[in-house]
Amino acid sequence: MNDKPQLKVSRRDAVKILAAAVGATALSNLPGKWTKPSLNVGILPAHALTSGHTLTVGADQIDNFCLSTALVSTVTISPADPGILMKYTIIPDPSITISSPPSLTGTALTNSSGVASLTFTAATSAAHAVTVGVEWEFANASDGTGNGTQLFTNLGC
């Protein structure tokens, strides 16, 4: 119950209120005439649900990989769940050689802390700063949303 005074609404006011409710950009989607409202309610099968996971990649790093060096990239999902398949893509500067893994893309599973990791080996002889990025995303969109890139920078050899 409430004591609100009754609104007197003109058609112009009503359209303004509807515009505020649905968003001005959606105003063109207002139905031209009133039709019977309908609701269809269903229960989703478990496999159709998104888990609502989000991801956070590890902090960017400054490393020295003038000599071939193993680097570790991590991603953490929230809420933490094990066994979530994460896809990585290694994106190196052209002057960087990635000697392992053999492919620049692949997958890794999260552990019980929700962390997946990739160990890769990088080397460069560039005298200037160069960067390799590791982009992470969910291999299966139903597991969660978002992506992120962790950067590894060599300041020069």
């Binding site: 119950m1 409430n2 609100k4 009754q6 609104l7 007197k8 609404v9 003109s10 058609r11 006011d13 009503a14 359209v15 209120i17 509807l18 409710a21 649905v22 959606a26 989607n29 207002l30 139905p31 005439k33 009133w34 039709t35 019977k36 409202p37 309908s38 609701l39 269809n40 309610v41 269903g42 229960i43 989703l44 478990a46 649900l49 998104t50 888990s51 609502g52």
Partner: protein
Amino acid sequence: LSDLQTTLLPKPIEGFQVETLDGEVVLLHPTRNIIVHSNSTATLIWKLCNGQNTVEDIVRILGAAYPDARAQIKKDVPETIRKLMEQGVLDGN
């Protein structure tokens, strides 16, 4: 409309993900496994249920926007809100 229905201040229950397409809305509650599809007019009613409009306000706003359908709107709005409350999409307290 009963007195109770007209003075309710329905508001959305949190936790629903909202997808809008061509004025229609799909509400998805990931943990309750529930999915609700509403057509454009049911969507209008749902969007006006913001915790500030009473049921009567909503009837009046939509009745002014669609004057030819006032009588139908007077029946449709409380019925739709009641269904949304029964499905746990709206809170009427």
